[in-house]
């Protein structure tokens, strides 16, 4: 049995992505929206957006509500093209709004790094506690993928832990229903300070598809300021890894 395992390992080889920071994703990936300076969106196109992320005058996409589905880019005469740039993380909510003519470089430059003490403390060792707050599990699966053999964020000292007492950051996925509100609150108070709050996915950042649902209770997020926003539905593992690394001062 041992030989079969060793043979399988030999055949698989090492599957780790060599450099997650510099890595490129497949061109099919729907990433950063390039919005042409001229052009406008019709009201039907605006209504197409599942997350109500679109606005006009100027044309803008709120990445916090955007599910990166690409429907707006496929509409007739749409100024929006989804590139495959995947470094989408930000540290402020309003930095997630992409207006017409904003280049990716300008967008990415808005992403700040954490405070110096935070970077010194967590720069090489960060432990995450995941709270799955009534989402569809897509974000949870991608978060899981960040620790797999391909993306392997363990190499940067980042890992997911079993108890919030052992964690340095709470990473929330899902829109936060009323049933999960207490659990999220308990997880946060169980995490020792200094601690970070990370929101992953459109649902966590803005409620996403479910924003109008009466089942949600997002008061926790108004009482606590998140430190990192990771847009997407679900965000690519490389987006997650790079958003965190950028915050810690280790990204590009």
């Amino acid at each position: 049995m041992v030989f079969r395992l060793l043979k399988a390992r030999w055949r698989h080889g090492s599957q780790a992505v060599p450099d997650p920071i510099a890595a490129q994703v497949d061109p099919m990936f729907r990433g950063f929206p390039d919005i042409a300076k001229e052009g406008t969106l019709s009201s039907e196109t605006v209504a197409l957006c599942p997350g109500a992320a679109l606005s006009v005058n100027p044309v803008a996409i709120d990445l916090g509500k955007c599910h990166l589905c690409g429907a707006c880019s496929r509409a007739a005469n749409s100024p929006i093209r989804l590139s495959s740039r995947h470094h989408l993380g930000q540290t402020k909510r309003d930095a997630l709004i992409v207006t017409a003519g904003t280049s990716f470089e300008q967008y990415h430059a808005r992403a700040e790094k954490g405070r110096a003490e935070i970077r010194r403390l967590f720069g090489r060792s960060l432990r995450l506690r995941s709270v799955s707050a009534a989402g569809c599990s897509a974000c949870e699966m991608e978060l899981n993928a960040t620790t797999n053999a391909n993306f392997d964020m363990l190499r940067y000292g980042i890992d997911i832990v079993a108890s919030p007492r052992h964690a340095d950051a709470v990473i929330v996925t899902g829109p936060v229903s009323a049933n999960m509100a207490d659990a999220l609150e308990d997880t946060w108070s169980a995490t020792p300070s200094p601690k970070l709050l990370i929101l992953m996915g459109a649902c966590a950042i803005s409620g996403g598809l479910f924003a109008a649902s009466p089942a949600l209770d997002r008061r926790f997020l108004s009482d606590h300021t998140p430190d990192i926003y990771i847009p997407g539905c679900p965000p690519h593992p490389l987006t997650v890894v790079n958003a965190i690394l950028n915050y810690l001062g280790r990204g590009i």
């Binding site: 709270v131 659990a183 020792p192």
Partner: protein
């Protein structure tokens, strides 16, 4: 002179207890306590002096049939007298507090019996002839019976008292038989003359086996132990502490005294003692782990510790047969140190259990929890006692186990053939006992004091009054002191062990061990200082960083957890019970959840003492059956009874007349 002090101490005890019976209720307890403490200080002081220079014996005349009685305080007697005195002082102090909780009881008889109990134990270890010994032995049994019978309104107590009465008299019968057998060879009732029995080793072996069986019942070796887990919980806590801590040691005294006088006739006897001790130690602690009644747990733990003492004695006896110096000296010394250590920490634990019972009115640990907040002093003292009884450094329990291990490490290479392997296997058994004791006492402390309360029994709990705390604190301080500075106790115990036949110079064997114990103390001092340093660093680090925040225990975000969802005592013991449950007669009663939306389920497990269930209970039933065959004699008919009288007189007349004819 020393013996005069000793007798003065006994007299003070006696007079104090007699006086309190005549005085009003309000002064009884204080008078008795003061008299007991002063009296025991005298006897304790006399014992310490006797250990340093052996006094000459004194003889005085007593009414018939005792005749002239000799009292002697050789090192062995003095060691036991010291143990009794120390245990008695703490017990009296604690008892003063405990008994004040019974304002409605007159306590005259109880306090008098308590004094007689202490006095008879002191005399048991100092008399030197058969009749006086049996007299004070019986006095000890009877006075302890009165003490156990304190809460006589409870059926459990009545049953336990009867059980204890029978067990003690079976023991008495065996001891008497042993003495009679030895007397056939010695010709006199004087103990020193028993040495003559050694001329016929096979005979001496049989006599000693019977004699030791009697003492083993008193000490609580398995399979002679079944009275212990009934009597010790039934007695009030100050009595339990004295019985477990001091009285059962008189059984050990008997074994040690007659080993000293007669010697070890055959190696088989020594191996039997060792085997009985190993079984007592391992099975005793396994039973302790299975219990949910705290005092029963402590009673079985006493059986375990008697087993450990027996291991030391057994090794020493084997050593005497094969001429193995380290086994003889260090085995015996380890047994003696453990003897006094056990009386200290077992007393402490029983007194803690008493404080718990007083505070919560239950002995069932499954109803307790979280008491460290409401009873901080009791909790701290109980935890100290638990660390000590688990044999962990830096407390005294470690020292006695260390000396026993030393005897095995030094003795094994010198023991030829299979004996070396036997010694090593005994080391494994001692290690097993130690780790099981750790398991047992993490259960006891953890379930009772830590976590959250499992029922409302703990609602009104508070620490007991100062006298009770003082009694416990005294013992805890002694435990810590001996643990950190063991050399004096070791030297004293070694001088007692040196009484036994040793090849070569016992002092030369003991001296390096004193140095080793010094190294142990230094290592432990380093540990304590390093712990303080680490705790200080933790304090400073937390002050500088985020500080300490409080929150609920992490339960994965589930907010409807209750204290009943905690681990219980039986849950904590269950992995071990899965392995050893058969041995412990563990009966499990399970009510499975029924239906689609089950509302109720129950689980209950209870250990049964196998010796009691399979040996004693059927035996008792059989004896009751035999007696029931003669029930027709007690018809209740007065005419029939008068007829019995007439028949008896007629038969007597015929016999007398037949004799003269």
């Amino acid at each position: 002179m020393i013996l005069t002090l000793f007798l003065i101490g006994i007299a003070i005890l006696f007079i104090g207890s007699a006086l309190q019976a005549a005085l009003p209720r309000s002064v009884r307890i204080p008078l008795f306590t003061v008299a007991a403490i002063i009296g025991l200080l005298f006897t304790g002081f006399a014992s310490v002096q006797a250990l340093l220079n052996v006094p000459t014996a004194i003889t005085f005349g007593c009414p018939f049939p005792l005749g002239s009685v000799t009292l002697e305080l050789d090192p062995l007697s003095a060691f036991f007298a010291l143990t009794i005195s120390l245990g008695g002082i703490a017990g009296s102090l604690y008892g003063a507090g405990y008994l004040s909780g019974y304002p409605e009881r007159s306590l005259r008889g109880h306090l008098f019996a308590l004094a007689l109990f202490l006095i008879s134990m002191l005399l048991v270890v100092t008399v030197r002839a058969v009749l006086p010994f049996l007299f004070v032995w019986e006095l000890m049994s009877l006075s302890s019976l009165v003490l156990v019978f304190f809460d006589r309104q409870r059926e459990e107590v009545r049953d336990a008292t009867v059980n204890y009465f029978i067990a003690m008299h079976v023991a008495f019968a065996l001891i008497l038989t042993g003495f009679l057998l030895l007397m056939t060879r010695s010709g006199s009732g004087d103990f020193a003359s028993f040495a003559a029995a050694m001329q016929d080793p096979a005979f001496a072996e049989t006599a000693l086996l019977i004699l030791f069986a009697g003492f083993a019942i008193k000490a609580g070796f398995i399979p002679f132990h079944s009275w212990l887990p009934k009597a010790h919980p039934a007695a009030p806590s100050h009595v339990s502490g004295l019985m477990s801590g001091v009285m059962i040691k008189t059984g050990i005294y008997g074994i040690l005294r007659f080993t000293l006088i007669v010697g070890v006739p055959t190696t088989r006897l020594a191996v039997i003692v060792l085997m009985v001790a190993v079984v007592s130690a391992v099975v005793g602690v396994l039973y302790a782990i299975a219990q949910h009644d705290l005092k029963r747990l402590l009673a079985y733990s006493s059986i375990e510790n008697i087993g450990i003492i027996g291991i030391g004695i057994g090794l020493s006896m084997i050593g005497m047969r094969i001429g193995n110096g380290p086994l003889i000296l260090l085995g015996m010394t380890g047994a003696l140190i453990h003897l006094i250590n056990h009386s200290l920490f077992k007393g402490l634990l029983f007194y803690g259990a008493g404080a718990l019972y007083r505070a919560t009115h239950t002995r069932d640990i499954e109803k307790l929890g979280g008491l460290i907040g409401k009873m901080p002093a009791t909790a701290l003292l109980f935890i100290v006692g638990s660390v000590a009884i688990a044999g962990l450094p830096p407390l005294n329990g470690f020292i006695s186990e260390f000396v026993l291990y030393l005897s095995m490490l030094y003795g094994a290479p010198l023991a030829a053939g299979g004996y070396g392997a036997l010694v090593v296997l005994t080391a494994g058994a001692l290690a097993l006992t130690g780790i099981l004791a750790l398991y047992c006492f993490t259960k006891a402390c953890g379930i009772v004091f830590l976590g959250s309360p499992r029922s409302d029994a703990t609602d009104t709990a508070r620490d007991p009054d100062r006298a009770m705390i003082a009694g416990m604190a005294l013992l805890a301080v002694a435990a810590v002191a001996i643990g950190l500075y063991p050399a004096p106790l070791f030297s004293v115990a070694a001088s007692v062990a040196a009484l036994y036949p040793f090849p070569g110079d016992a002092a030369a064997q003991a001296a390096p061990v004193v140095t080793t114990l010094g190294s142990v103390s230094r290592a432990l001092l380093f540990f304590v200082l390093f712990f303080a340093f680490l705790y200080y660093i933790r304090h400073r680090l937390l002050a500088k960083s985020g500080g300490i925040a409080t929150a609920a225990t992490w339960g994965c975000g589930y907010r409807h957890g209750t204290a009943r969802m905690q681990y219980t005592g039986s849950s904590y013991a269950s992995p071990l019970m899965a392995l050893a449950g058969q041995l412990l007669g563990l009966s499990v009663h399970r009510e499975a959840p029924q239906g689609l939306f089950p509302a109720r389920t129950a689980f209950h497990s209870h250990p049964h003492d196998l010796v009691d269930s399979y040996l004693i209970a059927p035996g008792a039933k059989f004896i009751r059956y035999l007696f029931s065959l003669f029930r027709w004699v007690q018809s209740g008919d007065m005419a029939q009874y008068i007829l019995y009288g007439i028949l008896f007189l007629a038969a007597a007349l015929v016999w007398i007349m037949g004799g003269t004819a």
